[in-house]
């Protein structure tokens, strides 16, 4: 059985995992970080998006051993203690969710979007960038509003314990 070691939300983790173990399974079932969701398991829905070495990826489409030595950030690592990350706060303020199942992936995608494209995101850009995230409640309007607001709010410097983020 392959051994894996990586950093998840700033903590070093190490263990054995079957070669078939997907990163999302490792996060949810071994580390019990269940904030990262599995929606479709076919790389379509984006509920499982996490950051690996600072880049948004679908954790259902990566083996755990592929994250060997990597820095992984999940939704659980975004807030600074009791203080929500500005993007999380923006989703709350703008009611950027209905059932909430897609929200962790939406937020991780949104934060990645800001890292790549900056703080002033127009609606068209946000919608295009959300191509890989599906909301089955179809609550996209408020998700788009949340991301635009969250992007601006991140300008002040996002509180996060990960230097890479």
């Amino acid at each position: 059985m392959p051994s894996v070691s990586m950093t998840v939300n700033g903590n070093a983790v190490k263990g054995d995992a079957d070669a078939r173990t997907l990163l999302v399974q490792y996060l949810r079932e071994t580390l019990r970080l269940t904030g990262t969701h599995v929606g479709c398991d076919t790389s379509q829905c984006g509920a499982c998006v996490v950051h690996v070495n600072g880049k948004a990826v679908k954790s259902c489409t990566m083996f755990a051993w592929q994250a060997e030595g990597a820095d992984v950030l999940t939704i659980e690592g975004l807030a600074n203690g009791a203080t929500l990350h500005p993007m999380q706060e923006a989703f709350r303020d703008n009611h950027g969710l209905q059932c909430g199942f897609c929200t962790p992936g939406m937020i991780m995608t949104a934060v990645d979007m800001v890292h790549r494209l900056g703080h002033e995101l127009d609606e068209r850009t946000i919608r295009e960038e959300l191509e890989g995230n599906i909301c089955r409640c179809t609550g996209y309007h408020n998700i788009v509003k949340s991301i635009a607001a969250g992007a601006k709010a991140m300008k002040g410097g996002a509180p996060s314990h990960q230097a890479a983020e």
């Binding site: 079957d18 379509q44 489409t61 051993w65 979007m113 960038e129 890989g132």
Partner: protein
């Protein structure tokens, strides 16, 4: 997913040896096609050879009149590379249209080309730009490389190392996307090269990417969307499925070719 043994290759020679040694081995580049197909049990490799720890396989460089892209270069890096944007903007734009942002962070150019999905984008760029696919054994021109549905000229122990694109005078790619899969229902890559014009079509061919000689001849006389007016391709031999009939795809080829020529300017 069926079980497998994984191997981390530290170099191309080691990866090649492993490919020769294991019966049903598969190379892992970005894994954005391999993993989903393994989950569906459409692929069940005995061994997976990971190429991700091999150094020096994701460089982007301009060599003479060619843009050379390492096989492990991710779609996101091709899309955002100032070098690609300057040399062949159509190629950067094409890479930006693949999948979604998370998929583009993982998927690689070499993986896409080796897989030769009939609806993938990169095969159209390779054929349209007359690219040369460089492997651990030889150099293969795009016209010889793509052999059919998911079939290429690659030998079982051959690995793509880079792709060399001659810089064209003008080029553009137009994609009519399947909104669910984000693959091309039809995609047309048009390039005006010093010696010829190429029109390469993905998504429509029953046996993968192909060129349209009639369109190329018309565009060689005059590179304008008007040159394509009234020209069509027969639906015979094109792919038809629940997403679009062969006739619909044939129609799209004409429409997208004209749009691509207009876009190339």
């Amino acid at each position: 997913m069926y079980n497998f043994t994984y191997h981390r290759a530290s170099g191309l020679r080691q990866a090649t040896n492993m490919l020769g040694k294991f019966e049903e081995a598969k190379l892992l580049a970005g894994g954005q096609t391999l993993l989903p197909t393994m989950k569906q049990r459409l692929a069940s490799p005995s061994d997976i050879i990971d190429l991700n720890k091999i150094d020096g396989m994701s460089a982007i460089e301009v060599k003479g009149r060619n843009l050379v892209i390492g096989a492990m270069t991710r779609h996101a890096d091709v899309a955002s590379s100032p070098m690609v944007q300057q040399a062949i903007p159509a190629l950067a734009a094409l890479a930006h249209m693949i999948g979604d942002p998370a998929v583009r962070h993982r998927g690689t150019i070499g993986g896409s080309i080796a897989n030769n999905d009939p609806n993938a984008d990169y095969p159209a760029a390779c054929l349209g730009l007359a690219a040369t696919i460089v492997t651990t054994k030889r150099k293969i021109v795009a016209d010889e490389f793509f052999r059919g549905l998911f079939e290429t000229a690659l030998a079982s122990d051959e690995i793509i190392t880079k792709v060399s694109f001659p810089v064209p005078k003008k080029a553009a790619y137009q994609k009519f996307r399947n909104p669910a899969s984000r693959f091309a229902l039809v995609g047309v890559f048009v390039a005006k090269r010093p010696s010829e014009v190429r029109v390469a079509v993905t998504g429509a061919g029953a046996s993968g990417v192909f060129r349209v000689p009639e369109f190329e001849a018309a565009l060689k006389k005059r590179f304008s969307p008007k040159s394509l007016e009234g020209l069509t391709i027969p639906a015979d031999g094109l792919a038809g499925d629940i997403h679009g009939s062969a006739e619909y795809r044939a129609h799209l080829v004409g429409v997208l070719a004209r749009r691509a020529v207009a876009d190339a300017g």
